[in-house]
């Protein structure tokens, strides 16, 4: 699978500009998405990586019309979304959920599960069955008769996920949003499902939005990768650029810290301090500055948007971006350098910001 950049002259499938989604929780407002700029192009595999709480799931839900934007703009196939737009959206974008054991109604048969979205569109019976059977076979559950009348509990995890994928394929969408599609699956089954998703991208011309915390997965599957932190995209670009030559210190930390089966060059296992701050108490200036090893005065004072940095098409939201090869995390801390007060370990307790 080569990293061929796709022509962006075509209207993107979805486009977010300054997208905001806020929730009211226990009286206070939580900004789950706080100005997301993102383009999801036709037929591309776009990876969204980040820690929990960064907003990637909210982003997925908003793209599916499950959450309403409270600010900014969200365009879908060129048009801004309105009420009827949301209904069309639901046919053009489908979601594959993380847990195949929970995302299928245990009381519905496979046939009903796969036909359900088509029933909502009031499709005729014969056509429904045809589309559903086709979707099942495309999802690798063929011949369709074999699985048609089964219940989810009669299927393995991998098969259930395929049913979920078939149900997403039946309405013939343009894009699939996959939220950790394989993390709940066994290792030997993962590869099968991943192959399926990529194959569908080829045969059906689907666009895939892959939400994952697994950097290796993003590396193997995605054309472009977006990194999210605290409700914003802080770096985006071609997968090979972002993951091999990351410009933003957070991306660098994420990649440096991801466990690997390959031997690591010494001094690279630096761990970031603290935890992601509570979304209701955001830091001033650049959101990442309290944990950033490169932070300077400007970072505490001024917020920063995505700026071109690194390769063509790569942008990072940092005042001092840059990647130095062979040192992993630019400006990292080496454990050996630390003074006595740091001997206790890298988790300094100033996580409570």
């Amino acid at each position: 699978m080569s990293a061929a950049p796709l022509a962006s002259a075509v209207t993107p499938l979805a486009e977010a500009r300054g997208l905001e989604v806020a929730f009211r929780r226990r009286g206070s407002t939580v900004q789950a998405l706080d100005g997301v700029d993102l383009e999801w192009r036709q037929n591309e595999v776009l990876g969204v990586v980040g820690e929990s709480g960064c907003g990637k799931t909210t982003l997925a839900r908003t793209l599916l019309g499950l959450e309403q934007p409270t600010g900014g703009e969200l365009r879908f196939e060129g048009a801004t979304l309105d009420r009827s737009g949301v209904r069309t959206l639901r046919r053009r974008v489908q979601m594959v959920f993380q847990d195949p054991y929970q995302s299928l109604n245990p009381r519905m048969r496979v046939s009903e599960l796969v036909q359900e979205p088509l029933r909502m569109q009031r499709m005729g019976r014969a056509e429904r069955v045809l589309r559903a059977a086709t979707a099942l076979e495309d999802a690798g559950l063929g011949p369709a008769e074999r699985f048609w009348g089964r219940y989810p509990h009669e299927l393995s995890g991998g098969q259930r996920q395929r049913v979920a994928i078939a149900s997403a394929l039946a309405p013939e969408p343009a894009g699939l949003v996959c939220d950790e599609p394989v993390s709940a699956l066994d290792v030997s089954v993962r590869a099968q499902v991943l192959h399926l998703l990529l194959g569908l991208r080829r045969t059906r011309g689907l666009a895939l939005l892959l939400i994952t915390h697994d950097i290796g997965l993003a590396w193997a599957l995605c054309d472009r990768v977006a990194v999210m932190y605290l409700g914003r995209v802080i770096e985006i670009g071609q997968a090979s650029d972002v993951l091999e030559r990351p410009q933003h210190p957070y991306t660098q930390a994420l990649i440096a810290v991801a466990p690997s089966t390959r031997p690591r060059a010494p001094g690279q296992a630096a761990v970031l301090e603290g935890e992601v701050p509570d979304a209701s108490r955001l830091p001033s200036g650049c959101r990442f500055h309290p944990r950033c090893p490169r932070a300077r005065e400007r970072c505490a004072d001024e917020d920063v948007a995505l700026r071109p940095s690194g390769a063509a098409g790569q942008t990072a939201a940092c005042w001092y971006p840059g990647f130095e090869p062979r040192s992993g995390l630019a400006g990292e801390r080496r454990p050996a350098d630390e003074g006595p007060e740091r001997r206790r370990g890298p988790f300094v307790l100033h996580a409570e910001l």
């Binding site: 995302s103 245990p106 009381r107 909502m120 569109q121 069955v129 045809l130 076979e137 008769e145």
Partner: protein
């Protein structure tokens, strides 16, 4: 990759008639209940009572409601060849009253039970699914109805409505059903609401919503089928309690004097001094029948709950 038209035809045929499928599902359920000894006992007893209810009118040697059955010469007589369960204080055949009682008890129990189940489920699903002020309002209502004391309320309703008894369908019996339904639905609501609250957060509901399902769609196709096991288990209990409630009401004299339910027979028996006279044949059959009938429902309810319990939920 298109699917062949033969396959499509095959699959269309495989779907089958929805009614046939439901019937098969029901038979399967009944069979699985009957496999457990407790369930077998329950089902057999209930079947027996149903049989009595259906055939009672034909089998009864007498019609206790007609004046022709009065026979004061043979009043308060024990079981004999002519009267298998003896006679009451007016000489009427007690066996006929017993058989007829099955019908009334069953009808009242079922009607009240079903009404409670339906009302309770609908309210519970709405409250649990919508949350917010809908939930608060419905739960408030539910709390009030839970607290209503059965007997005083029944007496009150009976007193208020007795003049309109002719206008209410079913007459006094209809009033009893109404009273039982009103006091019975609140318990179901509690249970259903709790289940719906957890179901609402399940991923398959999210998935349906993401595919464009309306609230109604989700409630009908996703929430309802998944609360049905609990509703069934609970309804069975409610029916049992309704039968008991009806018997209680009748025993207190609030029943329908124009019909014979087991409770009415008991009431008549006590009024006629059956205990003092040692006329065990009067009170024992209806009393035992009520007990067994209620136990049968509890037994079936227990089996359903075991089947609908953690094993099924673990799926």
């Amino acid at each position: 990759m298109a699917v062949s038209s033969e396959t499509v035809a095959l699959l269309l045929g495989a779907e089958g008639n929805p009614f046939a499928r439901r019937l098969r599902g029901a038979t399967r359920a009944v069979r699985s209940i009957g496999r457990r000894p407790l369930g077998a006992f329950g089902l057999v007893t209930i079947a027996f009572v149903v049989l009595m209810a259906l055939l009672g009118g034909a089998l009864a040697p007498q019609n206790p409601l007609s004046t022709a059955s009065f026979d004061f010469a043979h009043r308060m007589q024990g079981p004999s060849g002519a009267h298998w369960l003896g006679t009451d204080e007016s000489g009427r055949d007690l066996l006929s009253q017993f058989l007829l009682g099955a019908r009334v008890s069953l009808i009242v129990g079922l009607a009240a039970g079903i009404a409670s189940a339906v009302i309770g489920s609908v309210v519970g699903i709405c409250a649990g699914y919508f949350g917010g002020w809908v939930d608060r309002a419905l739960t408030f209502l539910d709390d009030w109805f839970l607290v209503i004391p059965f007997v005083p309320f029944a007496v009150l309703m009976a007193a208020l409505l007795q003049d309109d008894a002719r206008r209410i369908p079913g007459g006094r019996t209809g009033i009893i059903v109404l009273v039982l339904a009103i006091t019975g639905w609140a318990g179901t609501t509690r249970i259903v609401r709790a289940q719906v609250l957890s179901l609402r957060e399940r991923e398959f509901v999210e998935r349906a919503r993401s595919q464009g399902a309306s609230h109604f769609w989700i409630m009908r196709r996703h929430i309802l089928p998944n609360v049905m096991p609990i509703v069934w288990a609970n309804s069975v209990l409610i029916v049992a309690l309704s039968v008991l409630g009806e018997a209680g009401l009748s025993y207190f004299g609030l029943g329908d004097p124009d019909s014979f339910s087991w409770g009415t027979v008991l009431y008549n028996g006590f009024q006629a001094g059956a205990i003092n006279q040692g006329a065990w044949w009067y009170v024992l059959p209806p009393g035992a029948a009520i007990t067994l009938f209620v136990l049968a429902f509890f037994a079936v309810g227990q089996v359903i709950e075991d089947a609908a319990g953690p094993r099924a939920r673990a799926r």
